[in-house]
């Protein structure tokens, strides 16, 4: 027979949680499935009867903690009512085992304790039980405890479901990220593959290229137009990323494949004028680029050059004493694509024996140093004047730029081409 324990008539914080979180918790009772664990068959019957009175008819029973663990492994329950003192495995021991199980394995556990077992009940709560109930329970309190636990279970299930959905979304995003990274790597490899390899004969050419992001906007090339004329070119599309990289590759291919109809590729002005009209920014998603284009004529030892908004190339000229003097090769006009029908012109420079041509992009020197001071073209020029003939000068220039910039990647793509003339 159920006795009424008036001392247990006070609602606990669990009960308040219930009223806040569940507008009609009684709805959960008919569908709830409970496991009653007690070594006393009479106590199990009393609890099952009381539960039935509350509308809970789906109940299972176990005579000790070991049996209960077995049932929890086989099927899922919404709440466990757990006795403390039982043979084979008591309530506290069972809770200790449950604590080792993965999150979500066990439903909320309500410890059913005798009045003389309060200290043990406290230990059970510390071991993971959600709540406790006196064996001399009041039906109203039983209902409150169970509905509170059911609500906790519901919230926990919801949380677990959200967590599972979040994990799935995270995995999906990671997959997308891996795919995009793979595609960016492929694109970067493609861009690199169109850069000509360094060579030694008949002219020694090497270069250094480092993008500030996966895909940069710089592209360059060099090729013999005919037996006597060698073209060198470097372009820099405003910005970085997929769009600028696509434009840079398209534009550089136009030059390296002699893809400018009726244009004398030995005439830098004509090349830039033609490129300007082909790549008008109004037709290129508002992207434009700077371009330096030079043609070295072997017989006359001269270089023709023109620039569309690109920084000057440097010609290092031996001064006879083992040092170099520098000449800036600049005949600049608007960046390519800015204004339709712009006429670009070239200039011609004599090339002394042993001269070195250096074609940089602005990323080689437009750097804010660690003190917040802007590095200048003159700084770059001086570094190249002193070191430009050394085998590792281009790597050295990049190290210099990184040192001036400080930690982290450079803000802009870094590209420089060197030709020993």
């Amino acid at each position: 027979m159920t006795t009424i324990d008036y001392n247990d008539g006070v609602l606990t914080s669990s009960d308040r949680l219930l009223t806040e979180a569940q507008s009609d918790p009684m709805d959960m009772l008919p569908t709830a499935k409970l496991l009653v664990v007690d070594d006393s068959r009479m106590m199990r019957m009393a609890l099952i009867r009381a539960l039935k009175d509350l509308g809970i008819s789906n109940t299972e029973q176990a005579a000790n903690g070991a049996e209960a663990l077995e049932k929890l492994t086989q099927e899922s329950f919404d709440v466990v009512l757990l006795d403390i003192e039982m043979p084979v495995m008591g309530g506290l021991e069972m809770l200790t085992v449950l604590k080792q199980k993965p999150r979500g394995f066990a439903p909320p556990v309500i410890v059913v304790s005798g009045d003389d077992q309060i200290e043990t009940a406290v230990a059970c709560i510390e071991a993971g039980a959600e709540d406790y109930l006196s064996k001399a329970f009041n039906p109203t309190v039983l209902r409150a405890r169970i509905t509170a636990s059911l609500e906790r279970k519901r919230l926990r299930d919801q949380e677990a479901e959200s967590h599972r959905a979040l994990i799935a979304e995270h995995e999906r995003l990671e997959q997308t990220q891996r795919r995009l990274r793979g595609e960016l790597d492929d694109a970067a490899n493609f861009v690199r593959s169109i850069f000509p390899p360094p060579c030694d004969l008949p002219l020694a050419v090497d270069w250094f290229q480092q993008s500030s992001t996966e895909l940069g906007g710089d592209a360059f090339g060099y090729h013999w137009i005919d037996d006597d004329n060698f073209a060198v070119y470097l372009l820099d599309v405003c910005g970085h990323g997929v769009g600028p990289a696509l434009l840079s590759v398209t534009a550089i291919n136009q030059i390296r494949t002699d893809g400018l109809p009726n244009v004398d590729m030995r005439d830098p002005g004509a090349v830039l004028s033609a490129m300007n009209n082909i790549f008008l920014m109004t037709k290129q998603n508002d992207l434009y680029f700077t371009l330096w284009y030079g043609v070295y004529n072997k017989s006359s030892r001269t270089i023709r050059h023109a620039s569309g908004g690109h920084p000057p190339a440097l010609l290092l000229c031996p001064d006879g004493s083992g040092e170099f003097s520098v000449r800036r090769l600049i005949k600049s006009s608007f960046m390519i694509g800015a204004f339709e029908d712009e006429i670009y012109e070239y200039e011609t420079e004599a090339v002394p024996e042993g001269a070195i041509l250096l074609v940089p992009c602005d990323g080689c020197f437009e750097i804010e140093d660690t003190a917040g001071v802007e590095v200048t073209y003159e700084d770059f020029e001086e570094v190249m004047r002193c070191t430009g003939d050394q085998p590792d000068a281009l790597d050295g220039l990049f190290s210099w730029a990184k040192a001036r910039h400080g930690p982290g990647p450079l803000d802009d793509d870094f590209t420089i081409v060197r030709v020993r003339l």
Binding site: C238, M335, E368
Partner: protein, 116 residues
């Protein structure tokens, strides 16, 4: 970079400061276009004061290009002043000195625009 719009004696000043690169060009460009629209509606002239502008990349020049085109379309008088040596180099390298009035300071800019 920062850009603040000031108005003084009927002239609008866009005061640019910091580093203008590809990433900051869009915001700067939007402010210039707004300022040009404002001047077109209320009259006056626009001076872009670059005294505090430490650096302009070739990609950042797009803001000035769009500003020059917008000002021309709306017949708004536009000048740039206070370029540092480095910024002036970038302007000249890119041919911008041919499409935008560049003067050393505000007074010279106003004189050029005929509002001094």
């Amino acid at each position: 970079m920062d850009c603040t719009i000031e108005k003084f004696a009927g002239v609008t000043y866009a005061v640019a400061a910091g580093r203008l690169d590809f990433d900051s060009a869009n915001d700067f460009q939007a402010k210039l276009v707004d300022a040009i629209a404002d001047v077109a509606a209320s009259g006056g002239a626009l001076v872009i004061d670059c005294t505090e502008l430490a650096y302009v990349s070739s990609a950042g020049l797009r803001s000035f290009l769009v500003a020059a085109r917008t000002a021309k379309a709306k017949t708004v008088a536009l000048a740039v002043c206070g370029l540092s040596a480095g910024v002036q180099d970038v302007f000249e390298m890119s041919g911008f000195h041919r499409i935008i009035v560049i003067r050393p300071d505000r007074a010279a800019a106003l004189q050029e625009l005929g509002v001094a």
